[in-house]
């Protein structure tokens, strides 16, 4: 039984191989881009808008609201990164209902790649906000003794991010595969539906966690902003 789409090789040229993970990733990328392009090419700024535009506006506005709630900051800078994480994982998981399709998120390589992106993005956003010294000062707080634990925490949460997504999606695929061989009719469908739900939840969790990590890197800045805002409100 094939567990990871990495092992399905479509084309091999020396060390480089074109496996199912990459192909299905491209498929997801193509679909997302195509839908976006088709929907946004006739965007209007008036009050009468198409259904597709409405859907996309709701989606984007929803992601922005979530980012704003988590970070207490303007969502503009985080939207492309966090939004793409959510949309990519959600789309990859949703397509699981298509027969013959294998979610690229069921490959540890994909989830690792995404986790590495988050791992890199966090310090980039932190440094962009506070400058390198202020950002690095986070690692020695409250004392220098905490430095190794902070670094371990950073790495472990990245690994947890990757493994959580991979485990959930892979397990779903595996369970469906096992159930198909045991009870071919009813249960696999239910598990597929459950898999859709899990897939959406995982996409949400991954994106929100990424945002939380980024927000914690810029927390000093955010903490300065929040009291100022509450004062203004009072």
């Amino acid at each position: 039984m094939t567990i990871s789409p990495d092992s399905i090789i479509f084309w091999q040229w020396g060390a480089a191989s074109l496996n199912a993970t990459i192909v299905y990733t491209w498929l997801v990328m193509a679909l997302l881009t195509l839908i976006s392009w088709l929907a946004t090419r006739r965007f209007s700024s008036g009050t009468k808008i198409s259904r597709w535009q409405n859907l996309l506006e709701v989606l984007v506005a929803g992601i922005r609201d979530q980012i704003k709630q988590v970070s207490h900051q303007q969502p503009g800078k985080y939207l492309p990164f966090v939004g793409t994480l959510f949309l990519f994982i959600a789309m990859a998981n949703l397509l699981n209902v298509v027969p013959g399709y294998m979610a690229p998120t069921g490959s540890l390589s994909t989830t690792t790649a995404l986790a590495i992106c988050v791992f890199v993005a966090v310090p980039i956003y932190g440094i962009a906000y506070e400058g390198p010294l202020n950002y690095l000062a986070h690692y020695v707080r409250p004392t220098l003794l905490m430095l190794p634990f902070n670094i371990i925490g950073e790495i472990s949460r990245t690994i947890a991010l990757a493994v959580r997504l991979y485990g959930n999606i892979m397990s779903g695929t595996v369970i469906v595969a096992i159930l198909l061989s045991l009870t071919p009719y009813f249960f696999p469908v239910v598990m597929q539906l459950l898999g859709l739900l899990t897939g959406m939840i995982q996409a949400y969790i991954f994106a929100i966690l990424a945002m939380v990590y980024i927000a914690s890197a810029t927390s000093a800045h955010a903490e300065k902003q929040v009291p100022a805002k509450t004062e203004n409100q009072n």
Binding site: A16, N19, S36, L56, I116
Partner: protein, 260 residues
């Protein structure tokens, strides 16, 4: 549970490309459209506010105009009322004047008619009385009316008191004109002699006496000496009669009669 690091790196690149693609084709257009809409709505709201303000101003302006119009209308009405009153007064005055004029004309006419009637009556009565007197005198005393007039004038001259006689004499002395006897009938020489004799007796001997006739006297004989005058005239009686008749014809007498 293996990690293919080549796939990992490929997926990192794929993800970064997807980030760019979605930013280019999804986030930017959506956010731009939303921002534009927000701006448009804000602009429309501002526009609406401005228009409302303008409308308010316009409404106030129109209200002021309406008030002004009302005031002007009141003024015009007051002026028109005043003018109408003035015209009414004028018309009333004219009407009153016309009525007064008509009444005066009418009264004048009535007066004239009355006078004409009285004149006619006087003439009628005079001729009737003359006829009656002539006939009565002729029947009863075999005397002529003219003769009786002469006798009556001479009697009056005789019966004048001293004062009146003195006045008559004085008047005849003050003028160079002769004493004049005017009668409505022609005097025969015997009557003239008697009259001349009586005048000479009462005035002065040899005073000039002239005789003439006049129809103005109606029926009678008059002696004129300067400004003094002595006469017997039927006109006096008729005058008195017509005065009585006038009194009887007047509305006061009429109403008194009605009361009775």
């Amino acid at each position: 549970m293996s990690i293919d690091w080549i796939t990992v790196s490929a997926q990192i690149v794929n993800f970064l490309i997807l980030v760019w693609l979605l930013k280019r084709f999804l986030y930017q257009p959506v956010i731009r459209a939303m921002d534009h809409r927000e701006q448009r709505i804000a602009a429309q709201l501002n526009d609406a506010q401005a228009r409302e303000l303008k409308a308010d101003n316009k409404a106030q302006e129109y209200q002021a105009m309406a008030r002004e119009l009302e005031r002007t209308r009141d003024d015009i009405l007051a002026r028109a009322y005043e003018k109408a009153e003035q015209q009414k007064r004028q018309l009333l005055d004219e009407a009153r004047r016309e009525v007064t004029e008509t009444r005066e004309n009418w009264q004048r006419q009535v007066q004239q008619e009355k006078e004409e009637f009285l004149n006619n009556m006087r003439n009628q009565i005079s001729s009737t009385i003359q006829n009656i007197a002539r006939k009565a005198l002729g029947d009863l005393a075999n005397a002529k009316l003219e003769e009786q007039m002469i006798i009556s004038l001479i009697n009056r001259l005789d019966s004048l008191d001293r004062q009146s006689q003195a006045l008559l004499q004085k008047a005849s002395q003050q003028t160079s004109e002769p004493v004049r006897i005017t009668s409505t009938f022609k005097l025969d020489p015997a009557a003239r002699d008697r009259l001349t004799h009586a005048i000479h007796t009462h005035f002065a001997d040899g005073i000039a006496v002239e005789y003439d006739e006049s129809s103005e006297l109606l029926c009678g004989i008059t002696l004129t000496a300067g400004e003094g005058q002595l006469s017997w005239n039927l006109a006096d009686y008729i005058q008195r009669l017509s005065q009585d008749a006038e009194k009887a014809l007047s509305p006061a007498a009429h109403s008194e009669t009605e009361k009775e």
